[in-house]
């Protein structure tokens, strides 16, 4: 109980019973989550499970049909501008203005974040350094490879040192070296932040996440550390892989209750 209260107090990102329907299809059905400072939450699930939809609602881009999302205690639907000052968000596919140079794009983002002068220059230099974009600052974004574009998206998300980072597939399209680098970056930043990353690469959970949530058809079907999730797939004392656990809880045919671990 005491631990629960402590978590609740320090939860930087809080999702309360989020529901989103598209016509008759319920994409997200009653998802609640709390992410305290220092936690890197892995958001797993099959394609179409509602990962991106949930993240869009958490970032305040999509308006939920019911429920609420709070960033540092501020409701993103009620005070969107205030809530977003504490949010760094990498949308799915890392969209950016293709005709702009990396430097121009980051300057633009800094201005929208109310950073100017020396403050902006420092923030940009720090983000560029962390994402290793120093060599391509003057290159138009549309001419760059997928991996570079993803890093530009990351640089934009961490520019203002936000308390909450929501990254939709941050390592998608990166080569193994770049993946390693981005995971390192996420670990480095996690100390006093709440970070949520979505992925369908299970090894990512062991590599960076302190906790993972598996969602399937819009609901949370498993929630715990990597080891706890592994036990879900285990039968009679045998250890299982995360992949087995994943398949078990997101089984396509059988209808099942959410597993609480």
């Amino acid at each position: 109980m005491i631990r629960f209260l402590k978590d609740r107090m320090s939860a930087l990102l809080e999702l309360n019973s989020l529901v989103k329907r598209f016509q008759s299809f319920t994409a997200v059905n009653d998802i609640s989550l709390e992410v305290p400072a220092g936690e890197v939450l892995g958001f797993l699930g099959p394609n179409g499970a509602g990962k991106s939809t949930t993240m869009k609602m958490a970032a305040g881009f999509l308006t939920p049909d019911s429920g609420s999302a709070l960033i540092c205690g501020v409701d993103v639907a009620v005070h969107p501008e205030l809530a977003r000052t504490n949010l760094g968000y990498l949308p799915e596919g890392a969209p950016a203005y293709g005709e702009m140079s990396v430097a121009g794009f980051l300057k633009f983002c800094a201005r929208l974040r109310d950073l100017s002068g020396a403050e902006a220059r420092e923030a940009i230099a720090r983000a560029v350094d962390r994402t290793e974009l120093g060599g391509v600052l003057d290159q138009p974004i549309e001419t760059m490879s997928k991996g570079f574009k993803r890093r530009v998206g990351l640089a934009q998300a961490i520019l203002h040192e936000p308390k909450v980072l929501i990254l939709d597939e941050p390592t998608d399209g990166l080569d193994p070296n770049q993946k390693h680098h981005v995971r390192q970056l996420i670990r480095d930043m996690s100390a006093d932040r709440a970070i949520v990353i979505s992925t369908h690469i299970l090894e990512e959970v062991d590599a960076v996440c302190s906790r993972a949530v598996i969602i399937d058809r819009g609901t949370i079907v498993a929630d715990g550390t990597a080891d706890e999730l592994r036990k879900l797939g285990a039968r009679k004392g045998k250890t299982s892989s995360l992949e087995e656990a994943f398949r078990q809880v997101t089984a396509p045919v059988t209808e099942q209750e959410p597993a609480h671990v």
């Binding site: 869009k56 501008e81 969209p95």
Partner: protein
């Protein structure tokens, strides 16, 4: 305000990093000259003024201004950058106004490129330069309205071609709303009060006064209310359609 300026500058420089801006400027100036000298018969009239130019300008704007406004929001939606923009700590109206202002600044540049016409009539005779200055202001005000309509149409679709066609159509309705083309159709289904109300929305009614050097209150109110209304409609459209 600095956030509006950030959006404004990005959008305006966006025009000039692609060939769109230069193609547009060349065609705008060329067609303007064509209308003035050939269709408007500047020489044959024997009057040193720019009335031929400004008379045809609404029709030129009708086609060319939607070409400027069509990308404002459609492109954001097509490329997904709207998700980035709308999760920044800015409000929708700041983005809407910033983008619209970029369009206005671009049209202002285009109008400035036609200043040689002004110099020409001054060389040929002694025109009333006050009237011409007011006409230029009127032209820019007209562009403000068309750009506001166009930005709303652009927010409705992620397809620039559709945004263009919608904006031309909506612009055409407002240009012709004082003429029988629209009024006869309305008269068939609505009472006379509605007919005259729609007639008073016409672009040409208000614009003609300006080309004679006359800035009257109804014209100013028309420009301001049309612009504000369509920019407001744009914010609503962006909110509703951003994720679709």
């Amino acid at each position: 305000m600095s956030k509006i300026m950030a959006i404004f500058q990005r959008e305006l420089s966006g025009y000039f990093t692609t060939p769109i801006a230069y193609v547009f400027l060349v065609i705008f100036v060329m067609l303007g000259g064509l209308f003035t000298f050939y269709i408007g018969n500047l020489y044959e009239r024997g009057v040193a003024d720019l009335l031929p130019y400004f008379t045809y300008l609404p029709w030129l704007f009708l086609i060319l201004v939607p070409a400027i406004s069509m990308r404002l929001w459609s492109e954001e939606r097509r490329s997904g950058t709207i998700e980035l923009l709308m999760t920044m700590p800015i409000s929708v109206w700041q983005a809407v106004v910033g983008k619209w202002l970029a369009g206005v600044a671009f049209v202002a540049v285009a109008l400035m490129c036609t200043v040689p016409l002004w110099l020409t009539v001054n060389y040929l005779g002694s025109p009333d330069n006050g009237v011409i200055a007011v006409s230029y202001l009127g032209a820019l005000a007209l562009a403000c309205v068309f750009l506001a309509i166009g930005s709303c149409m652009s927010a409705l679709t992620s397809n620039q071609v559709i945004a263009f066609v919608l904006a031309v159509t909506a612009g055409f309705v407002f240009v012709t709303s004082g003429t029988p083309i629209v009024l006869d159709a309305v008269r068939a289904v609505a009472p006379e009060a509605v007919v005259s109300g729609i007639g008073s929305l016409s672009v040409l009614t208000h614009y003609e006064g300006l080309t004679r050097g006359l800035i009257d209150v109804p014209a100013v109110v028309w420009v301001a209310s049309m612009t504000v209304f369509w920019l407001f409609a744009t914010t609503v459209a962006v909110e509703l359609k951003k994720a679709g």
